[in-house]
Amino acid sequence: MAEEVVLMKGNEAIAHAAIRIGVDGYFGYPITPQSEVLETLAEQKPWETTGMVVLQAESEVAAINMVYGGAGTGKMVMTSSSSPGVSLKQEGISYIAGAELPCLIVNVMRGGPGLGTIQPSQADYFQTTKGGGHGDYHLIALAPASVQEMADFVKLGFDLAFKYRNPAMILADGVIGQMMEKVVLPEPRPRRTDEEIIKQCPWASTGCKGRKPIVITSLELDPAVMEQRNLHLQNKYAEIEANERRYEEIECEDAEYLIVAFGSCARIAQKAMEHAREEGIKVGLFRPITLWPFPSPEIAERAKQVKGILVVELNSGQMIEDVKLAVECNVPVHHFGRLGGIVPDPDEVVDALKEKLIK
């Protein structure tokens, strides 16, 4: 059968992919630029087809706690929002990470701080990769650069979340959420039955039939036990860091300069790279796909051959810190960013490259 190619927005692709891969529940609250996720789900009425629960919650706080509840029972549950709403979810995300539950959170970033703007931004990089909520935890963070990846990362996010019993986040931005592209949606598969869930998730709190009661909690008052819980989490994070780094390299083999960019910025940077190459400047593009775990060893390796690195972001310089840590001052690392919802032109990136690295 020929692959079915459809044209849709990134936000719509998230919704369609969720229905197709058999997500059990979506809980969200409207906020631009991601409201199409909930709108598309409401329009598709998956509760009549796959049995998926779709609920507009009273707030992002409630939505993430609905996800916490559903995740504790082993169901595939997700939420989506944009920056101000994701700030509200942080308490819940910390609880989910602390209780070691799988779920998917989508952040279609917009400019901040505060109410900010509804235009695209990548200013929640720190919030996503360095914590956000309280405590020593990490999210698995996936950064899509196309509508296709918006669709694909729903399944990937859930696969990783269940593999490690850890919340996963798709960190998109308003550009990827709103733009329309061709996309091949994932093959439909049925939702797991309750019996399958109980078998696959022996840790889930589903009613203690034929076994001892299970408690989903992150609370532990004995510091010695709590330290062990934390060490267990850290071991898990080390395993994720070792196994799940994802990235893409474009024209890096002969590169003398490297641009590092994620999400929509990587698309702009790719055009900038092409323009620079037309002028004879040998530039390569390194695109981290997982922002946590960060592909530090791979960037360090590629940095060995280049004279300088330009990190391009829709923020004032956040991922650049991880790039600098990765290359350990062996190569000059500079930043180019636009703020407040401005998306740069590829030629602005080329100019920045010349000005900051080549001079």
């Binding site: 809980f27 409630a62 706690n65 916490y68 209780a99 203690c208 909690t217």
Partner: protein
């Protein structure tokens, strides 16, 4: 030998199954409770255990414990439980019940948890008519954190954060969440009970049973408030606390059913 003959039964005879007059519910385990002597929490836990057992729902029950003194409810009830963030229990319960419609899902929340930080989650879950039960322990104080003012603290009542007594000019008025719940379309059974006497305990148990049954029959949301004592927070002996509750709490938080659409 029966009890009526003579009152000189040996310990062994008393313990014989045929002489049993009362048994701890099986779902209430032997872990020593951390609650202060005289606290209402333990009594309500026992009632929940009895009702779940009597309904034959022990393998299908999922309880949500709050942040508050009852945070460790899951240490005493032998059923599956999930521990919510402060105030968020109704959101967890909403998702769990919708994803597992044949499960008995209930939350157990204090006044700070339900009527302050979790007001939005509580009102919206009730108003959506989620088929859950919310057990609301109103002791008019923040027990767990050491006796601070609660949304339900009575006017004039002294707490650690209103040491001169609750003054409406400064602190506003106590909130009657159960009265609010009774006005919501989604609720089917809203009642206010207490557990300070044997008769009250029997009534409270009936109320919990009715609420749980309603939730399993898909009739809507159920709220069972239990006007409770916190003798530690109130700085009173358990006996005095019960008396103080009767004299001060009951006139403001009047006992009885506020709404019952099943009649």
């Amino acid at each position: 030998m029966t009890i009526t003959e003579e009152n000189n039964m040996t310990k062994e005879e008393i313990m014989k199954p045929e002489n049993l007059v009362y048994q701890k519910p099986k779902l209430l385990n032997d872990n020593p409770m951390h609650y202060c002597p005289g606290c209402s929490h333990g009594v309500v836990h026992k009632l929940i255990a009895e009702v779940i057992e009597e309904m034959g729902m022990s393998e299908k029950a999922i309880g949500i414990s709050p942040v508050g003194c009852a945070v460790f409810m899951y240490n005493y009830l032998d059923i599956d439980c999930q521990e919510a963030a402060h105030g968020r229990a109704p959101a967890l319960a909403t998702a769990i019940k919708r994803l597992w419609p044949d499960r008995l899902v209930f939350t157990y929340q204090g006044d700070g948890d339900l009527a302050c930080i979790g007001t939005a989650e509580t009102i919206h879950a009730l108003n959506r008519g989620e088929n859950i039960t919310i057990i609301f322990i109103n002791n008019a104080i923040y027990g767990m954190t050491g006796g601070q003012m609660a949304p339900t603290t009575l006017v004039g009542m002294k707490t650690a954060t209103c040491p001169y007594g609750r003054d409406p000019e400064i602190h506003g008025y106590p909130l009657k969440m159960t009265e609010i719940a009774a006005t919501l379309e989604g609720t089917c059974y809203v009642t206010r009970q207490s557990v300070h006497t044997v008769a009250a305990i029997r009534k409270a148990k009936k109320a919990i049973r009715k609420a749980f049954e309603n939730s399993m029959q898909g009739k809507g949301s159920n709220l069972v408030e239990i006007v409770s004592t916190c003798n530690s927070g109130w700085k009173m002996s358990p006996e005095k606390a019960n008396k103080w509750m009767e004299e001060n709490m009951f006139p403001f938080y009047q006992l009885g059913d506020l709404k019952d659409t099943t009649l």
